[in-house]
C-alpha cells in the first residue's frame, strides 16, 4: 500500500514582530493555529493530532513548552508530538505532520511552530561556552560568517552579492503584511555601507530577532477533496542530517543538504529544478546563504549560485525562480517557526493565496529549512495539482 495522498488545506501565521508583550507563548501559538484552522474551514474539534516544533528550549528558558501548549491548543485527549531539529524544526514539524497523514494513521493533523525571542536571549543561548573549546563563539552569525567567507573565496563571488540579496528580501517583505521588517528604502549603495557585525556579514544581511508562530492544517486526500478551498498537494518531502563537526566536512555546501535535495527531486519527479520549480522559500538567515543554498539544492552548479542573484533570476518580479517572495528569514525570524513559514509560504503560493507577493501562475513551489551548524535539512515540494 502506498502513502496516502495529502495536502496543506490551511495556513496561518502571526504578524511577526520584535516583541509581542501582549501574549504568552501559548497565546502566540493559538493565534497562528486559529488562523490556519479558519483558512481550512475547520475548528480544533476536527483535528486528530497535533505536532509542535520549536528551536532549543533554552531560547526562552521554558523546558518542554509542548506540555503547556497542548492545553492552549485544546489538544487534551489527542496525540501530541514535539519535534526537535534546531532551526530547521518548522520544516521538520510540517513533514512529521504530513507523515502522520501519509501513513494513514490520522486524517487531519495540525502542525504548529513558534519562537518568542523577546522572552529570552538567543544570542546568549547560542553562545554558551562549551567545556572543550575556546569561548570565541558569537551566536549564529559568528558561527556562519567564516563559512560565508569560505564561500566568497572559493566561488570568487563579487562582494556585493550579499547586499543584493538583502535589498531584494527587504523589498519583498514590504508586500507581505506578516513580515517583521518593512523597510522599503534600501538601495544597494546603502546596504554596502551597512556596518559589519560579523565581518564579512553586514547588519542589513542579517535576520532580525522576532516573536512569531506559524501553523498548517494537513489533510488526507478524501478530506481535502471535500473542502471547497484551494489546496497545496504535497508532492515530496525529504529530511537529512549530518554531524556538526567532522574531518573534511564541506561546511559551505553540506553533503546532507545535497542528499536531501537529490531525494526531494527524485521523489517529486523533477529533473531540472531551475526550470520546473516556479518559486522557492528557502531558509536564508544571512543573505549569502541564498547563493550557497541555490548550489546545495541543485538550482545552480558549484560556485555559480551568485550568478542567479546577479542576473535577477531570484527576483520576485521578472525573475524565473523567485526566492523568498515573502521577504524570507532575512525579514522575519521567529526561529522555530521560520522553517514552517517557508513551508507555509510555498503552500500559499500554489494555493494562490500569497496576496501582494504572489508569484503569477505558481504551480510548483519548494519549502526549505536548515538548522544547527548547517546539519539538519528539511524540504518539501508542493503543487497546485494532485500528484
Amino acid at each position: 500500500m502506498g502513502a496516502v495522498r495529502c495536502a496543506v488545506v490551511g495556513v496561518g501565521q502571526t504578524h511577526h514582530t520584535s516583541c509581542r508583550a501582549d501574549v504568552s507563548i501559548a497565546g502566540l501559538v493559538r493565534e497562528a493555529a486559529d488562523r490556519a484552522l479558519a483558512d481550512a474551514g475547520m475548528t480544533m474539534d476536527d483535528i486528530d493530532a497535533v505536532v509542535i516544533g520549536k528551536a532549543p528550549d533554552m531560547l526562552e528558558g521554558v523546558m518542554m513548552p509542548e506540555l503547556w501548549l497542548a492545553e492552549a491548543l485544546a489538544a487534551a485527549g489527542k496525540p501530541v508530538f514535539r519535534v526537535h531539529t534546531a532551526g530547521s524544526v518548522g520544516g521538520s514539524t510540517a513533514i512529521v505532520a504530513a507523515q502522520h497523514v501519509m501513513s494513514g494513521v490520522h486524517k487531519r493533523v495540525l502542525a504548529v511552530a513558534f519562537e518568542k525571542q523577546s522572552d529570552g536571549n538567543a544570542m546568549w543561548a547560542l553562545s554558551v561556552p562549551v567545556p572543550f573549546s575556546m569561548p570565541v563563539h558569537a551566536g549564529a552569525g559568528g558561527y556562519f560568517a567564516p563559512h560565508v567567507r569560505a564561500y566568497i573565496r572559493r566561488s570568487e563571488a563579487p562582494g556585493y552579492i550579499g547586499a543584493m540579496v538583502a535589498v531584494k528580501d527587504r523589498t519583498n517583505a514590504c508586500a507581505n503584511p506578516y513580515a517583521h521588517l518593512h523597510e522599503p528604502d534600501w538601495t544597494l549603495e546603502a546596504a554596502m555601507e551597512s556596518p559589519m557585525l560579523w565581518d564579512p556579514i553586514r547588519f542589513v544581511e542579517t535576520c532580525p530577532s522576532s516573536d512569531g508562530a506559524a501553523a498548517l492544517v494537513i489533510a488526507a486526500e478524501d478530506v481535502a477533496d471535500a473542502l471547497p478551498g484551494p489546496k497545496a498537494w504535497i508532492r515530496a518531502t525529504s529530511m537529512r542530517s549530518e554531524p556538526t563537526m567532522f574531518a573534511g566536512r564541506n561546511q559551505v555546501s553540506p553533503q546532507a543538504g545535497k542528499d536531501c535535495s537529490a531525494e526531494l527531486w527524485r521523489k517529486a519527479g523533477i529533473t531540472d529544478p531551475l526550470r520546473e520549480v516556479d518559486v522557492a522559500e528557502i531558509y536564508v538567515p544571512f543573505s549569502w546563504f541564498e547563493p550557497m543554498w541555490l548550489e546545495n539544492l541543485g538550482f545552480a552548479e558549484r560556485n555559480e549560485g551568485w550568478r542567479l542573484v546577479e542576473d535577477g533570476v531570484t527576483d520576485l518580479r521578472g525573475g524565473s525562480l523567485p526566492i523568498n517572495p515573502s521577504g524570507g528569514v532575512l525579514s522575519s525570524n521567529p526561529i522555530g517557526a521560520s522553517g514552517m513559514i517557508r513551508f507555509g509560504e510555498a503552500a500559499m503560493q500554489v494555493m494562490g493565496n500569497a496576496g501582494d507577493h504572489q508569484v503569477d501562475g505558481a504551480r510548483t513551489a519548494v519549502g526549505h529549512a536548515y538548522g544547527g551548524g548547517s546539519q539538519f535539512f528539511a524540504m518539501w515540494v508542493v503543487g497546485a495539482e494532485k500528484p
Binding site: N121, S127, P129, F132, S133, H137, A138, H147, M196, F246
Partner: protein, 167 residues
C-alpha cells in the same frame, strides 16, 4: 485593582545552573594534555584522520572508537577561515572587536576555533600561519584558554588548494 497602565504584562525570571561535564577517556586525555601544555588529539583507526579535540571519543563519520594512543598536534597551524566579531552580547567572554579564526593545527585533520591577536584584523588572511601564545604556567587549567590567543608565526602563507578541503 490596578489600572490598565499599571498592568503587569511581563516579569523577569533569571535561571542558572552549574553543570558537571563527564569528558570520557579520550577527551580527558586532551584536557590532561592541556594541563601540561600539550595538544593531544586522537586518530580514527578506520579513516586515519586525527581529531583535535577528540570530542566524541568516536569518529563522527566512521562511528568507531578513536585509537587510545595520543597524537600530539600543533603547536602551529593554518587559518582556514575566520570572521571579525564586532557585535557585543550578553555573556560574551571576549571584548569585541576580535578575530575568531578556524585554525587547522599541524597534524590535525579538523580545524578548531580560537582567538587571533597581535595582528590588525584587516591584515588577517585565509592561509595565514599562526602560533599559540600560552598563559603563564601557574594559570593553567584543563582548558583551551591556557592558550590566550594565536598570533602570526611569520611562516609563508599556505596555498588555498592545500586547505580548500577543510572548508
Amino acid at each position: 485593582m490596578s489600572n490598565e497602565a499599571e498592568d503587569v504584562l511581563r516579569i523577569r525570571t533569571p535561571i542558572g545552573v552549574d553543570y558537571a561535564w563527564s569528558a570520557g577517556r579520550r577527551s580527558s586525555a586532551y584536557l590532561n594534555g592541556l594541563l601540561e601544555g600539550r595538544l593531544i588529539g586522537k586518530r580514527c583507526p578506520s579513516c586515519t584522520r586525527v581529531y583535535f579535540p577528540p570530542r566524541n571519543g568516536n569518529c563522527p563519520m566512521c562511528g568507531v572508537l578513536l585509537v587510545d594512543d595520543d597524537v600530539e598536534v600543533g603547536p602551529n597551524g593554518t587559518v582556514t577561515t575566520f570572521c571579525v566579531v564586532n557585535v557585543p552580547f550578553l555573556g560574551q567572554k571576549i571584548t569585541p572587536p576580535y578575530v575568531a579564526a578556524t585554525i587547522l593545527l599541524d597534524g590535525a585533520d579538523i580545524g578548531m576555533q580560537h582567538l587571533l591577536q597581535e595582528v590588525d584584523a584587516a591584515d588577517v588572511r585565509m592561509g595565514m600561519r599562526v602560533e599559540p601564545v600560552w598563559a603563564p604556567r601557574e594559570d593553567w587549567g584543563p582548558t583551551m584558554e591556557n592558550i590566550t590567543h594565536f598570533r602570526p608565526s611569520g611562516e609563508p602563507d599556505v596555498d588555498f588548494t592545500d586547505y580548500a578541503g577543510q572548508l
